[in-house]
């Protein structure tokens, strides 16, 4: 097991003071010696060897060796699986089972090719459903919101929804409600026109 480094400390989540190891070493809650808050720590091996994965990259020994595209003095170890550039250990980043270079990761993030870099999604299905249901409280608003809801549902039908599987039922409900409201307004308009 690796030696403990100075960063291998835990702090009380109430008083922010450094916890002695006996507090988080034992199972179950132990009181913080400073504020008496009951604390339990669950530790994993990464807690003890956090610097073990640092790889600075190997220097070139022979001038004819393949070198890293970004660090010509470092020896190339892998090729980027997107652009094919040679990379040293310092530049190589493993992402979703692929070895990539930082610019390809940046491009992948911008183009949405790397799912694990996505950190926000707009829930168009919820927007469409809310637009078709909430305005019913003030029903005459549906004259405006129902077409908007229908537009959002159709325009963003193929847009990715939550990263967690949600299905298309919100979109379907939005289309049904919005269409019903539009038909309702059509009937009202027809009735009013026919009376004039």
């Amino acid at each position: 097991m690796a030696e403990s480094s100075t960063t291998n400390v835990l702090y009380c989540t109430k008083c922010n003071r450094e916890l002695p190891s006996f507090v988080f070493r034992a199972e179950g809650f132990r009181p913080c010696p400073y504020c008496a808050a009951k604390i339990e720590g669950i530790l994993f091996p990464a807690f003890l060897n956090e610097n073990s994965q640092y790889r600075p990259g190997q220097a070139l020994l022979i001038a004819t060796d393949s070198s890293c595209f970004y660090h010509p003095q470092k020896k190339a170890e892998v090729a980027c699986e997107y652009c094919g550039r040679f990379l040293c250990a310092l530049c190589e980043v493993e992402m979703e089972g692929k070895r990539l270079c930082p610019p390809c990761i940046e491009t992948g993030k911008l183009k949405g090719r790397i799912k694990s870099l996505e950190n926000r999604r707009v829930l168009y299905d919820s927007i469409a459903l809310s637009l078709s249901i909430l305005p019913l409280l003030i029903f005459y608003l549906t004259f405006i919101t129902a077409p908007i809801s229908l537009y959002v549902a159709i325009r963003y039908w193929k847009a990715p929804t939550s990263i967690l599987h949600r299905g298309k039922w919100r979109m379907l409900l939005a289309i049904i409600f919005a269409s019903t409201q539009i038909i309702g307004w059509g009937v009202v308009a027809f009735f009013l026109i026919s009376r004039i």
Binding site: I39, G41, R120, S162
Partner: protein
């Protein structure tokens, strides 16, 4: 090909924070823990890779005790008012019905709070982060969730030698 999203397994615990209008939940992925912050019309994601998780800290909080005291007090007041109205002041039954419904509601709230158990605060530590996990708000659910998470983390990192160096 697996559909997007189907690879996530939900962990126990969910919390709605009314101040920020957010719903927090945790999901176990293939190689990471996903913290989903739902803001109604957008979702924010934070990923904690199993190989990077160093520790989880749990702290018991007195919130549940305070909530129980408040709910117990309100339920007790309602029940005592109901019994006084029924046996001392001899109120009409029609007047007692709303009071009985109100008492029943508060007693149910009190019992639900008792059943939910002790509250806690949970934090996750990596080499560069110390993130709160608001969805693990109840101790019982937090323990269940941590047990599931621990399996995944230990299968990625191996299990920890019980000997932890003293600080």
């Amino acid at each position: 090909m697996a559909r997007i999203g189907t690879e996530y397994v939900r962990l126990p615990g969910r919390r709605y924070i009314s101040m920020s209008f957010t719903r927090n939940s945790l999901w176990l992925g293939k190689d990471h823990l996903l913290h989903v912050i739902n803001r109604g019309y957008t979702e924010d994601y934070r990923r904690f890779y199993y190989r990077d998780i160093q520790a989880i800290l749990l702290r018991e909080t007195p919130t549940s005790t305070v909530i129980r005291m408040i709910l117990g007090l309100i339920a007790g007041l309602n029940l005592s008012l109901l019994s006084m109205g029924r046996f001392v002041w001899i109120w009409d039954r029609v007047a007692l019905v709303p009071l009985a419904i109100s008492s029943g509601f508060w007693v149910l709230c009190f019992l639900a709070e008792l059943a939910a158990g002790q509250t806690c605060v949970c934090h996750l530590r990596t080499a560069v982060q110390f993130e709160p996990l608001p969805s693990l708000f109840r101790l019982r659910k937090a323990r269940r969730a941590i047990a599931l998470l621990q399996n995944r983390v230990e299968s990625a990192q191996g299990s920890l030698n019980p000997q932890v160096p003293s600080s």
